[in-house]
Structure formats: C-alpha cells, structure tokens
C-alpha cells in the first residue's frame, strides 16, 4: 500500500494522545486510590490531558487531509453498524470530548473526574481497538488481518504516550516520573516484541491469491504483459509504495533504532530528566512514523496482481 502521510500522522498522533491519557489517568487514578491529595497530581493530569487533547486534535486535522470531501466528514458516523472506520470516527471525538470533560472536572478537582476519566480511558481503549480494527477488517490485506495489529496499535501508542507522560512528569518534576520512565520502557519493550512478532508473521505469510486465481487460469506460468493503462491510474498509485527494498529496510531500521532502542537507552540512562525524556519521545515518535510507514508499505494488496506491467 502507498503510505498516506495524513493517515500516518493521524494514527501516530492520536495513538500518542491515547497513550498519554491512559498513562496519566492510570497515575491519577492510582494516586487518588492511594489517597494522594487530588491537588498534588492535578497539574500533571491537567497538562497531560490538554496535551493529549492537542495531539488528538492534530490527528483529527491530519485526518481531514486524507478526505476528498472533508466538509462531509460528519457523514462518516453513519456507518457505525458495519464499519470500523466509522466506529473510529465516532470513538475519536467521544474520547476527545470525555478527555475535555476530564480536564474540566479535574481542574475543578471535582470528584466526578474519576468517573469521567474512567469513561475517557475506556474510550481510549475502544479507540485503539477501532483504529486497529480499521486495518484488521481489511481481511484481504493479510499483513494487517491479525489481532497483532490491534495489539501493536495499542502498545505502540501507549508506549509513546507513556514516554510523553514521563517527559511531562519530568518537566513538572513530579514524583511519578521514575515510575513512568520504567512503565514507558516496559511498554516500548512490549511493543517491540509484538511488532516484531507481526513482522515475523508477515514475512512468513503463505500466499493466498495468485495470478492463477486472479485471472482464473491454472497454468503455472502467467506473466502480465499489459495492465491496460500506460500512464498509471488510481490503482497504480494507491496500492504501491513505489519505493525500493532499501526504503523498507530503512523504515524497519528507523523503527527499531529510533522507535525502540534510542528511547530505551535514553530512558534507561537519562535519569528521568526532562530533556532526555522529551528527546526520547521525539525520537520515538519519528521511529513510530517510520513504523507506520512500514506498516502500509509492507501490506501487499491482492489487487496488485493486476497491475504489474505496462505495454
């Protein structure tokens, strides 16, 4: 598939937003359960939530660039019964609204904050599921059609959110910063494992559709001579990344190095400082953009069987 930059940004940004919220809400909730005075964690919770909101809003903006008719975006809610994309479109504003509610309640130290936050957290989880399922549900793209896709979206989003949370905590010099650093490292490691698993799975995926099934001719040797349009078409643009094997390898390296190893090292040896944490987050984010690029690029769409040669 051709990686659409808007979709890459959309998913990485809201993923980080979701992860950030889930992390800060976990800290907030555990804190309040432990009886820590609400006021002590307030700024962390509020600043974090606002940032989460911003990330989601940025993601939302990015998503509009992907649409041919953004002014009709509201229609996208209509298909929620069958479409994960529609569900995502419903879940994202719902999540954002509940985060906004949480911010206000938390700012006012309202006791309702916990319940609103719980709702927002559940929506964040739902949103992860929706986002992942958007891809999983395209069954014909077998690289995506795996529960690992949902797990990866969730874990990588959480990991980046947690790193960002650690950075915020570090800026605020909050007591939770060390814990968050550890949490972020754990999530990064988990994400690395599950994403690694999906890479291994994808490399071993057996072929399902072939030129033989595509045109219904059983002969073992079939070559396309002409795809019917020499100047290209939507089908030659949308489903091909148009890059060589190098680009894929670089993306993978980018993900492993920037998305995992560098942040882990920075977090592990950075003394939870504001600077190292935020550098860790930035590199991690770039790494995740590479990961998301790879996610699209490695997806082999069966339609490509029909678009192999011009003449």
């Amino acid at each position: 598939m051709r990686p659409a930059f808007s979709v890459i940004l959309l998913t990485t940004l809201i993923g980080a937003g979701q992860g950030l919220f889930l992390t800060l809400f976990a800290v907030d909730a555990i804190g309040s359960l432990r009886g820590i005075p609400t006021a002590e964690l307030r700024s962390f919770a509020v600043v974090g939530s606002v940032l989460s909101l911003c990330l989601c809003a940025l993601g939302l903006v990015a998503s509009f660039f992907h649409l041919g008719h953004p002014e009709r975006a509201w229609r996208a809610a209509a298909g929620w019964r069958t479409s994960w994309l529609s569900r995502e479109v419903v879940a994202l504003p719902a999540f954002m609204a509940s985060v906004a509610g949480f911010v206000m309640a938390r700012h006012a130290d309202s006791p309702a904050a916990l319940w609103i936050g719980l709702g927002a957290a559940s929506l964040a989880v739902v949103l992860f599921v929706c986002t992942g399922m958007v891809y999983v549900s395209i069954r014909i793209i077998r690289e995506w059609a795996s529960s690992l896709t949902v797990v990866n979206y969730a874990l990588l989003g959480m990991a980046s959110g947690a790193t960002l949370a650690a950075a915020i905590a570090a800026f605020l010099d909050s007591d939770v910063k060390e814990g968050l650093v550890l949490g972020a490292m754990a999530l990064i490691a988990a994400g690395l494992v599950t994403r690694g698993a999906s890479l291994i799975r994808n490399a071993r995926l057996p072929v399902k559709s072939t030129l033989q099934t595509a045109i219904g001719v059983k002969h073992p040797k079939i070559v396309q001579r002409s795809q019917g349009a020499m100047g290209g078409s939507f089908n030659t643009r949308e489903f091909f990344h148009g890059q060589g094997a190098d680009a894929l390898r670089n993306a993978l390296l980018g993900f492993l190095a920037l998305g995992c190893v560098v942040p882990l090292v920075l977090l592990a040896f950075g003394f939870a400082s504001a600077v190292t944490c935020s550098v860790a987050f930035s590199t991690q984010f770039v790494g995740l953009v590479a990961e998301r690029w790879l996610f699209f690029a490695e997806a082999r769409h069966p339609q490509n069987l029909y678009y192999q040669s011009i003449a």
Partner: protein, 966 residues
C-alpha cells in the same frame, strides 16, 4: 436512501438529439448514432440498423468525442511566413479566399505549362473517386492514394488471380466456415465485422488457426498459433499446395470448370508464344477486348477442344501436342511441376515451422474442404449455360493482410494463397472466400493507366485514369526509353503492376529530381513526415532541402489535415480540414464502398455538428478549386461552374452523360425510386440521412455466390454498371499476363521491352506461377550482422498516428516498447524494461524492451505509429509518445541499396511497388548506462500552430454541460 440518484439524467432539461452518420475513426466505416446534448457530442454508439457493424463499435469509434474536441485541431488556413525556414513552424493565419487565390494562381500556371509538376497524393482517405477525378481532369499523372505503401500486393495478387481480394472487396465467410486460417493480420480494415465474425465462428465450434510471427489480438483467441519467420509465407503456402496436389486433396471439378487449370499452355521453348495460352483460332472470343478462346484437352475424347465445350472435361495433368505439333500442358500440370520440389521439408527450413505441422495444416484444410461440404438449395446457372441445382461450398476460409502484403515477395506469396484457395474450391462459395461489390472484376480490371508522356498535356485532362491495371508491357506508363512518366515511377519497368502507385517514393524522387523535379506537392490526410514515410529522419531533411539557387527542392508543399501532425510542420500552406462529424462524405460504389457479401452497400456521412473555426471539408475545397481552375468535368458548357458544392456534385455527377450512374447507388431517379442506376435525385442526401446514411441492395440468393461465373449475376452487374462486360471471370492459376512481361524482358516479344538494367529483374519476378524468393532487402543483407526481423502491428485502440491527440485512446497506448522474445533478449543481455538499441543498416533507434513469449525468437516487433515527434499533435514536448515512444520507420529504407551500377530502386515489391515495410533486418543491443532515458532520434519540439491552443495540464473532465470544466 441514496442522495445521488444513480439513474437520473444529469441535465434533465437539456436539448438532446440523435443523428446517424458514418464513423471515420478508421477506414472500416461503421454506422454510428451520435447523441448531442445542447449541441455537444456526448455519446457515439454503433448503429444497430447498420449492415456493417450491426450496433457494435470499437475503442476508436467510442472515442470520437475526443477527436471532435481535440486541442490539436487546426482551425485556420496557414501560410508559412515569408522569409521563415520551412520546418521552423512560423506561420500566419490567412483567409480561405487568400488560400484559394494563391492555389488557383500557382496550380493554374502549372496546368497551363506542365501539369505533371503538380503532385497530389492522399493518405488514409476513402474518396479516391473524387481525388482521382480531380487529378485526371487537372492532367497530372502524379496522383495516388496510400495503397502503394499499404496493401497493393493484397489487392493485385488476388485481383490478378481471382478477380477480387481481401480487404473491403471480399473476405472470409465465417458464418458458414468450419476452418479458418488468418495469416499476417493484426487488426485489419474490416475491424469490427471481423471481430464479430470471429467470435461467432468460434462459438459455432469453428477451428481458427493463426499464422503470424506474433500472437496478439485476434490471434490470441486462435485455437492454434503457428509462429512463422517473416517473409517466408510463400514457402509455406507452396509446400501446402505441394501436399494438397500430391494427395489429391484439391477440388478437381471446381478447378476444371472455374479456373484456367485445364487451359493449355504453350510449352514450346522455341516459340515466341512460349508460356502463353494456346488459343482456339476458331473459338468464340466471347469478349473481343479480352478473348476467351482457350483450349482444353478433353480427357474423354482425348483431344483438344475449345474451353468449356459442352460435355468436355479438361485433363488437368498431362502433356499433349496440338495438331500443329505444339507441345502444350494444362496450366495445372505446370503448377504441379512448379511445386514438386517445394516439399514440406524444404519449407520447414525456410519458415521455421515443423514439417509435421506443415503437412497437418495441408491435411486439415484439404480434408475439411473435401469432407465437410455445404450445400445450399439455391439454383443458379453458370456463364456457359449449365444449370446447377445447388450451391456447394467447401468450408475452409482464409484471411490475410499486410503480414503477406508488406514484403517485397508479397505479390507472388499472395498469388500462392489465392491459388491455394482456388485449389480448395473456396472462391465465392459458402464457407470460403466471398466477394463484395463491385467485385469480382475482370482479371485484371479494365482501367489502364496512360501509355506514355504524350498523355500529359497542358490544360488537358489525362487521356486515361492515372491508375489502372496493366495487362501487358503496352499498358505501361513509360516513355520511348522505357523510363517512368510518373514521379513515383509507377507503371514503369521498375514496378509494372503498381496499381496503387508508390506514395512512399514521392518525396525522395521529387527531392532527387528523378525522373524530374516537381513544383507543388499536395498531401491530403497523410502523415508523410512521420509514420507513412520510410526513412523518416532523412525524408524530413529532404522536405527542407534546398537547391544551389536557394529554392527548396520541392518548391511548394500543401498539407490538408485536421490536426497538427508532424507533416504540417513542413507545409508552406496548411488547409484545416473538418472532422468526420462535420462534413458530407460518400463511401461510393465508384470507389471503395462498404458492400456486404449479399449485395452492394454504399454509405454517406452527413454533418452532425458545424465545423470548428474556419475548418472546411476538403471535399468542398477540391470542388471549389476544380471550379476555379475550370477543369472540364467541373465546368458547364458556358464556362460557368458546374457544381456549386460537393453535395451538389455528388447528386448530379454522372460517369457519362445520362449514364444514371453516379457516386451513390441508393435513392436514384427523380423521386428516389430507383437503385443502382437512375437519374440524379435532388433529395438523395436527405434520403440517405433518413435511412441511417446507408444503402443496401439485397441481391437474390441465386446471385450471391459463384459470381465470377454466375450468369444471372454477371448480367445484372453489367446492367447496373458494376462491370463493363459480362464475360466470366476465370481464375488465373497460371498468369499469362505475367508471362507477357517475362517474354518482353527476355527480348522475345515485339512490343515494349525493359531497359537493360531491369531485364533480369523483370524476367525473374514475372513468373506466371507463384514462387518464393527471399525478400529483396534480406537477400542483400548481412544476416550475421542483422540476425533479426523487425515488424510492426496496428493496435486495435489506435489509428496510425492520428489518435495520439485523443485523450482517452492515448491513455491506452501512451508509448511503445520493442517486444522481444525473452530468449533473444537475454542472449543480448537485455532485461525486461531496459533501454536498448535496435539497429538496421539504415539507422538506429533507442527504445525500451518488453519481453514477450508471444513472438517468434527471430522477430522483434512494436506497435505501429505510437511514437511521435515532440510537440506534434499538440502534446506537451515531454509527453510519453515522444520521450518513450519510438517509430520503427527510421530503420526502414524507402530504397534498396544501390546495385552495381548505382541504380537505386524502391524498397518495394518488384511487381507491384508495394512498400516492403516488414523486410527490414535488425540487431539489438543494450543501451549504455550513461545514455539518456529517452528514445532516439529526437527532433526539435514543434510549437503550437496559430489557431491551436495548448491545453492546461492538471485534472479535467469532459463535461462541458455542467460546470464547463473543459
């Protein structure tokens, strides 16, 4: 509930209209219905009520809108700016009046002094009845259409044998056939009907065999593909004939009665009549202009008798002596002797086809023809008065086109094919080959070219049509020395039977001043600076070349085109023509109508939209010019103009005063009540327009078959003026006419003889029986250096060069590749998609390689005319057509290498002058890595001409009604 109603019409209040006319996105000429919305063409569909295409339409026809609204359209007459260089593209727009008076003056002066200095050559048009009339009236012999570089071998090879040919004049009866051989055909002229017929044939369970070095298009759906080395079909066909005769698989009864197989040929080497038919001095001449007093050897009485003597049966084999001792043999005997050594083993070595396959092909056709006979209960009487209760057919059909025609051995190869078809007894019979009116015609047809320089006189029409069918050396158009009179050297000893002229040599000859320089070259609908010229790069230079005195070697060039083609760049005067949707036009019985097997069909075009800008139909331009020049046929007795317009001419012109025969056969007579023949009808155009623009005369079934010898048909044909005579058209298995030229070359006849340097050539190729020889260029080429053949094919979705301005079609064929068998390419180290060179002894072209397993390894090929010159057709200079597309023509020479004495002969068939496009030999190699990723050669980009606007890039949709986004 959907918001967008998928059924609603987008402009419910629009004015809509449907008009019928005839397509001219190609020369097939299907009936179409053009849907107009608020005056704009919105949809073009096949007319279901049209006999040719019965409602279907092809990719080109469906893209007519994009021709109509093409930004490459010329809109104004243009004159090259004084002082500017030809080819530089500097023009000023002028008025039609200026254009006409300029032409009137120039052409008038030429006509008053030396009319042959005006040359009119036309390309892919189908209006030769009018252009030919104009040229003849003008008095110039220098006229021809594109046939000489197209398929004259097919026309001549078959017409000189069976009196008809493939192409629009006849074809395979696939409705009834059981076995079909398609040889050297990719897209064909009869494109839609052939597609329909092929599919119907296959669905009926027919067996389809394609013989072609390449498997594409039609051949794709063949049951068997027989790859063959280009230029070798003659060997294959002769070996098949060998096998058919050896096994006795021929239709003896058919041969005996309907061909000259049983006619006795003088085989007395010492006689001046050697190789000519023995004549029956006492016999009935039948037609004094073309005596039919031949002899048979009656095998029952064992003695010679007049041909077709009642009760006689000619011996087909044997050797006999006439009473005076003259040794004679039946023509068939000579054929048998001819093919005796042409064994399948011999042909296998030449064609690359396995011996078993050659044998099997022969057996399949012989057995299918013999054992699967069709009998139709249609009674008919043959010319000699025998009544037949039924029509019998041998259901084996053939079709062949330029794969045979476009080789310098094509004429003899096609004669072999026509003879094979006759051996199988498949001529004008159900399931075999069927004629289309006005064919069959005499072998050869009656028109003869003028006979010498005396025919060309100032201010006088030619005393004969500029093109015709020579029967003997006396019919050649040569001077005392035997030198050509025509600029293209047509009908000279170089190409005696060049029935369609040699358009491909006109520019070179005129440039060289050989046989003489000309003044004005008028090109209509021919892209002579590009795809229809051989040796394109040099021809482009010749067009701009100057004499020592600074004058252009070809002083004045007029181009009439609809689009900014490559050739417009070299014009001194550009005349903007209309599109086929903007003009009147006829597909006339006098010319090349669209007849069906069942009867004559002619058709018209009527305008469905007004002309763009100042475009004017060329038809009108010709009539206007003829009027201004006061050409006799266009001038009334009082000196005034006889025809006010083209439409007026079409209605009122008669072939002879009161003949009742004119351009159109339908709705003649004062009230349109007569067909084929009748007085002019002033409402004839309206009547065509009201009847789908087509006229179909249905003949009774008894006239639909065996037309060469069908008394009823022949009498009717004479009566309606399709034929001059009504004598039978006997198939020429053995061609006495060819022998006459051979005798002249051998110095054994009294009439004209070839100049010495051509004697050997004429003697060799004018063989009265078919034979195979290596194509001329190949025979003088170094096969080790140039091991491969290079050919082209027409893509179904593109017409020559003229569809690259078509926004939809060019998305299908945007550029071309050289298709190479993977084994051949890999041996040359060329990968799929690589840039490579293809080189002949004449030049080289850089292009891209595409592997294909559907091509014989000794052949490389590409689509014809996809490559374009940069900026031509108003494409942007970086368009794929010029950057990745290429033209094979740069590799093909219009002339053969000079012979020992420095004579340069056209690269054509030595008999007909048919351009030998597919003879070229090439080699291939990989392009160096540092070479530009661009085809070579490249030319200076053409700039848009005045009146032509280069469109903006970006997304656009043709939907002028709503939004007007175009």
């Amino acid at each position: 509930m959907p918001l967008h109603d998928p059924i609603a019409q987008p402009l419910p209040d629009a004015q809509t209209e449907v008009k019928t006319t005839t397509c001219y996105m190609c020369a097939c000429r299907c009936g179409i219905r053009v849907h107009l919305r608020n005056g704009e063409v919105r949809y073009i569909e096949g007319n279901p009520d049209h006999p040719l295409n019965k409602g279907v339409i092809c990719a080109k026809g469906s893209s007519g809108i994009m021709k109509q609204y093409s930004p490459a359209r010329l809109t104004k007459p243009l004159l090259r700016k004084a002082g500017s260089e030809r080819g530089s593209g500097a023009y000023e727009a002028i008025s039609w009046e200026e254009a006409f008076s300029l032409l009137e003056k120039r052409l008038g002066a030429i006509r008053a002094t030396d009319p042959k200095k005006f040359a009119l050559f036309t390309g892919r048009d189908q209006m030769q009845a009018l252009t030919g009339l104009f040229a003849r009236q003008f008095g110039t012999p220098n006229y021809a259409a594109h046939g000489g570089f197209c398929s004259v071998n097919m026309a001549a090879g078959m017409i000189y044998t069976i009196g008809g040919s493939f192409w629009e004049f006849g074809g395979p009866d696939l409705e009834r056939s059981k076995l079909f051989f398609m040889i050297g055909t990719a897209e064909d002229h009869h494109s839609n009907p052939l597609k329909s017929a092929l599919s119907q044939f296959k669905r009926n369970g027919g067996r389809f065999i394609a013989i072609n070095p390449v498997r594409t298009g039609y051949a794709a759906i063949a049951d068997e593909w027989v790859p063959i080395k280009p230029g070798t079909d003659g060997a294959l066909l002769l070996a098949i004939i060998h096998e058919i005769i050896r096994l006795g698989l021929y239709d003896r009864a058919f041969l005996a009665r309907y061909t000259n197989a049983g006619q006795l040929v003088n085989v007395d080497e010492a006689s001046d009549e050697f190789g000519l038919m023995a004549r029956n001095a006492a016999g009935d001449l039948i037609n004094p202009l073309r005596p039919h007093n031949f002899l048979w050897w009656d095998r029952k009485q064992y003695r010679p008798v007049g041909d077709h003597t009642a009760g006689a049966d000619p011996a087909l084999l044997g050797a006999f002596r006439l009473q005076d001792g003259t040794p004679v043999k039946p023509a068939f005997q000579l054929l048998e002797e001819r093919v005796r050594d042409f064994t399948p083993e011999w042909a296998a070595g030449i064609t690359g086809i396995a011996v078993d396959t050659i044998r099997r092909l022969a057996h399949e056709m012989g057995i299918a023809a013999r054992d699967q006979k069709i009998e139709l209960p249609i009674a008919w009487t043959d010319w000699w008065g025998e009544e037949h209760k039924s029509i019998v057919g041998n259901p084996v059909a053939f079709h062949a086109m330029r794969g045979l025609a476009a080789h310098s051995n094509g004429f003899q190869t096609i004669r072999a094919l026509a003879i094979l078809m006759s051996l199988l007894g498949t001529i004008d019979r159900p399931g075999g080959f069927r004629h289309r009116a006005p064919y069959p015609r005499a072998v050869p047809p009656n028109a003869r070219p003028p006979k010498g320089p005396q025919s060309v006189k100032p201010n006088t029409p030619l005393d004969a049509p500029p093109l015709g069918w020579p029967e003997s050396p006396d019919d050649l158009f040569v001077d005392e020395q035997g030198s050509p009179v025509r600029i293209d050297k047509g009908f000279s000893w170089e190409h005696p039977l060049s029935a369609h002229g040699l358009m491909h040599n006109v520019i070179t000859n005129a440039w060289r001043g050989d046989p003489y320089p000309i003044d004005t070259l008028f090109l209509f609908m021919a892209n002579m600076a590009w795809n229809s010229s051989m040796n394109t790069s040099e021809v482009r230079q010749m067009l701009c070349d100057k004499r020592a005195d600074g004058e252009y070697r070809i002083p004045f060039i007029v181009v009439c085109d609809t689009f900014q083609s490559e050739t417009t760049a070299f014009a001194d005067l550009v005349l903007p023509d209309t599109t086929y949707l903007e003009r009147h036009d006829v597909m006339s019985m006098l010319d090349r109508p669209i007849s069906e097997f069942e009867g004559p069909v002619d058709a018209v075009r009527v305008p469905v939209v007004p002309p763009l800008g100042e475009c004017r139909p060329f038809q009108e331009v010709l009539v206007e010019l003829a009027g201004r020049l006061k050409l006799p046929a266009f001038t009334a007795a009082d000196g005034s103009r006889k025809y006010s317009s083209y439409t007026d001419l079409i209605i009122n012109y008669e072939t002879a005063p009161g003949s009742g025969i004119g351009f159109l056969a339908g709705w003649r007579g004062k009230d349109g009540e007569k067909s084929m023949r009748g007085e002019p009808n002033p409402r004839q155009w309206d009547m065509y327009a009201a009847n789908n623009c087509v006229f179909h005369h249905h003949m009774p079934p008894s006239h639909q078959y065996m037309r060469n010898w069908n008394k009823g048909y022949l009498e009717w044909a004479q009566q309606v003026g399709i034929r001059r005579d009504n004598d039978p058209i006997v198939i020429h298995i053995y061609s006495e006419f060819l022998q006459r030229f051979r005798l002249a070359a051998q110095g054994r006849s009294t009439g004209r003889q070839p100049p010495n340097h051509l004697r050997k050539r004429v003697e060799t190729y004018f063989d009265p029986l078919p034979f195979w020889y290596e194509p001329l260029e190949a025979s003088v080429s170094d096969h080790a250096r140039y091991p491969l053949c290079a050919v082209t094919q027409r893509p179904m979705a593109m017409y020559h060069s003229w569809d690259s301005q078509n926004a939809w079609l060019r998305q299908i064929h945007t550029h071309n590749y050289l298709f190479v068998n993977p084994a051949t390419a890999m041996a040359a180290g060329i990968a799929d998609g690589d840039w490579m060179w293809v080189e002949s002894r004449w030049g080289k072209v850089r292009c891209m390689c595409r592997y294909s397993g559907a091509v014989e390894p000794g052949t490389v090929w590409t689509w014809n005319a996809i490559g374009k010159a940069s900026g031509a057709w108003n494409l942007t200079p970086d368009a794929n057509e010029s950057q990745k597309g290429f033209l094979l023509n740069h590799l093909i020479s219009e002339e053969l290498p000079p012979d020992g004495l420095g004579h340069r002969l056209s690269n054509s068939d030595p008999i007909t002058g048919q351009a030998a496009w597919y003879d070229v030999r090439v080699r291939i190699y990989k392009a160096a890595p540092d070479e530009p990723r661009q085809t070579s050669p490249q030319f200076e980009p053409m700039q848009p001409l005045p009146g032509v606007v280069r469109p903006k890039s970006g997304w656009r949709s043709f939907f002028a009604g709503i939004g007007g986004k175009w």
